[in-house]
């Protein structure tokens, strides 16, 4: 969760690529060899400790390896997609556990990612203000949870949210009887419906389901215990992402904002129309890192609840560990890990698609209008000048050719 990355890491071109002239020419001949030589140690280390284990795990997910000796030994057989089938269509406990884990984690992602991003952005805008006194202190304070070990914070959380813990004491002062947080398996949405007198779901939802979990249970919402983890994730990660947003904010030149001020835009308008669009690369980074981190949530579960109560904090990452190390189902554990990998990749691609750098509609309309005006002027002048847009660096294929 504490990955730090600059917006550039998120796949955005950092400007013209200087090294594109090709190796072995002119004065720079030989640099490529030196380059390879210097990067070799890292490549080898990454290969041995990352790539090879990942490939071996991939093999394990397709094999019947029982956990003894090497998975590459002759006694281990290829079983095709059997392990994947067991957790996705097996109809047994393995499938239901996987379904429950996915359900739990989906709710976790759905809540944590938007909330932590919004909070991080909010904090960043606050502490980025030049007028704020002692903003260094605030920055440190907000960032502090991010550098604290997740195990320590989990332990802290277990204390805070215990039956007679601080949180419940505060709630009691307000006249609210707090739940037994980490021992309450009921889903918050179901609880909400119960307030309105809805006890069970309609047959359409309770009789059918996906991955061994009924639709009604998919819609249960995060359990009370999982909600405590959601709060914890927001608390610990928004500091990290705040830092990224601050970096993004400081990259924005003040002139644009000043221009908007001259045009009479108020604070809200400047934030939504000037600042936020320029933060898009940072936003992409934050959402991607958040998405990945949330789908891989493990240490909080391992040190906190081990999947309980009622399996409502079971996550695919923890289930993968549990299947392999505790239940000796190594193939299924590896299969879960790779399904998780595919889910993360697909969601990242989807996110990239949604946030892709395309001219938003008003700007497009503006630009088209400008072009039309220019063309009319050009036609009037009977000049055959080529149609060059002012921002020649970024011609968009979606531009109106009329």
């Amino acid at each position: 969760m504490s990955l730090l990355a600059t917006p550039r890491d998120a796949g955005y071109p950092a400007g013209p690529d200087q090294a594109r002239q090709g190796p072995g020419r002119g004065i720079r001949r030989g640099e490529a060899v030196a380059g390879w030589l210097f990067t070799l140690p890292v490549l080898v280390i990454l290969g041995v400790f990352l790539l090879v284990p990942v490939l071996m795990a991939l093999w394990v997910s397709f094999s019947d390896w029982s956990g003894r000796g090497s998975p590459l030994s002759s006694g281990v057989g290829f079983v095709g997609f059997d392990n994947y089938a067991a957790v996705t269509t097996g109809g047994g406990l393995a499938e239901r556990d996987f379904g429950i884990a996915l359900r739990n984690n989906a709710w976790y992602v759905l809540l944590v990612v938007p909330l932590q991003t919004a909070l991080a952005l909010f904090l960043a805008v606050l502490v980025n203000r030049a007028v704020l006194r002692g903003r260094g202190i605030f920055r440190t304070a907000f960032y502090f949870p991010s550098v604290t070990s997740s195990v320590a914070i989990t332990v802290l959380w277990l204390f805070l949210f215990s039956t007679s813990g601080v949180v419940n004491t505060v709630l009691a002062r307000l006249g609210i009887a707090g739940p037994n947080w980490f021992n309450e398996p009921s889903g918050v949405l179901h609880n909400l419906l119960r307030v309105f007198g809805v006890q069970g779901g309609p047959d359409a939802l309770t009789q059918h389901g996906f991955l061994g979990v009924t639709w009604w249970d998919w819609l249960a919402g995060p359990s009370v215990a999982m909600s405590a983890f959601v709060l914890m994730a927001i608390f610990t990660t928004s500091g990290t992402f705040m830092l990224l947003f601050i970096a993004g904010l400081q990259n924005i030149t003040p002139e644009v904002e000043e221009a908007a001020m001259v045009d009479g835009a108020n604070g809200w308008q400047r934030f939504w129309r000037i600042t936020l669009p320029q933060l898009r690369p940072t936003l992409f980074t934050v959402l991607t890192l958040g998405l990945i981190g949330c789908w891989q949530v493990f240490d909080q579960i391992y040190t906190g609840t081990q999947g309980g109560p009622g399996k409502t904090t079971l996550t695919p990452a923890y289930l993968s560990y549990q299947s392999a190390f505790l239940s000796q189902e190594w193939g299924q554990g590896a299969a879960i890990a790779f399904i998780l990998f595919v889910i993360i990749v697909l969601l990242t691609i989807l996110q990239r698609f949604v946030l892709r750098e395309s001219p938003d509609v008003p700007r497009k309309a503006r630009r088209a209008a400008a072009q039309r005006a220019r063309r009319r002027a050009a036609a009037a002048a009977a000049a055959a000048a080529p149609d060059a847009t002012p921002d020649s660096g970024r011609t968009s294929p979606t531009e109106d050719p009329r």
């Binding site: 041995v48 090497s70 590459l72 393995a94 009921s186």
Partner: protein, 419 residues
Amino acid sequence: MTRPISRRLAGAGAFLVAGALTLTACGGSGFEDTADAPSAGAEELTSSDDALSVLIGSSGDAETDAVTEAVAAWSEESGVEAEVQVASDLPQQLSQGFAAGTPADLFYLAPEAIAGYADNGSLQPYGDLLANKDDFYPSLVENFTVDDTFYCAPKDFSTLGLVINTQLWEDAGLTDADIPTTWDELADVAKTLTTDDQVGLSFGAEYQRVGTFMAQAGGGLVVDGEPVANSEGSVEGLTYVQSHLEDGTFAYAADLGAGWGGEALGKELAAMVIEGNWVTGALTNDFPDVEYTVAELPAGPAGPGTLQFTNCWGMAADSPNQEAALSLVEHLTSTEQQLAFSEAFGPMPSIESAAADWTSANPDLTAFLDGAAYAQFPPNWAGATDVITDLNAQLESLKTGDAQAILDTAQSNLEAIAE
């Protein structure tokens, strides 16, 4: 990404794979090892001068020190070096050791893990070679028997009993004569003992406690090798628990804000709890002022019932010095040594010849040992852990749940792994 870069990247990737594979090929003999498992039942033990490593999952310093001392004493006598390691996460470290081909020679092994390790040939079955084989309680031997092979020596065991807070008991005007022996009497005293500050009876929200009621009603999870999770007795047991969870005279420890029964008893959140031998050590350490009495669990409609918990001394099939390991196990399970362990950290000796001595040393705890005569134990089939975890997850909401439905799920899960 422009084309030249992606091409270069592809080249780098290929180079990386090739390089890494070459490296592992010359460096990692581990990848070339074959996992030829000696077939279960192979009775040839290996012998060498290698030192032994013993991996334990310790309950605390008392246990660690006791085991370390016992192993050191054996080491001195036999001349074979042996080292005790305390695992922070035993199942994980065992799995790691087996996968890497370098397991500890001897280790604590839980019955629910035995089938999985036995199936993949990680374990050396040595039960029949033990000199004191006939001294172990038969139900414990059964606990560690897979496919008719007695795998490993039970190291000790515990059963569940009714632990009563003496002070609260007397405050409610109850005497020794009121100690419940039937379900009805249990319900009565639980009602008497329930006040605004405490419940009558508490226990963990898990099969490992609630299962006693299933056993007392003639059910259980697996009886005589048959899954009986949704049998009439099991349902009756759960229904009894459910009705008293509803009327508030029973409560799960977690619902009282306690981590487990012992804590609920110590904090006087409950007047009675269902716990095992380990409660004595915990109460002495954490709540030295709490006085308690241990009674046998009351009998249900089908008679008395409790659960037993045990671990064995597992031996690795890959151990190079199994003969020495066997001798160490015999030392560790001897009458004298087991009584010493019992004194140090509480469990009961797994051998019948130590029973009389144990009883005279622990006159207040005999109820635990008496339970051994009729105790059930959780199934030790491969995959049983998952089934019990799933059952426990559902038992947490037993109060509002459907006992029959919960047990039907458990039954179908058990049938899926039945041997």
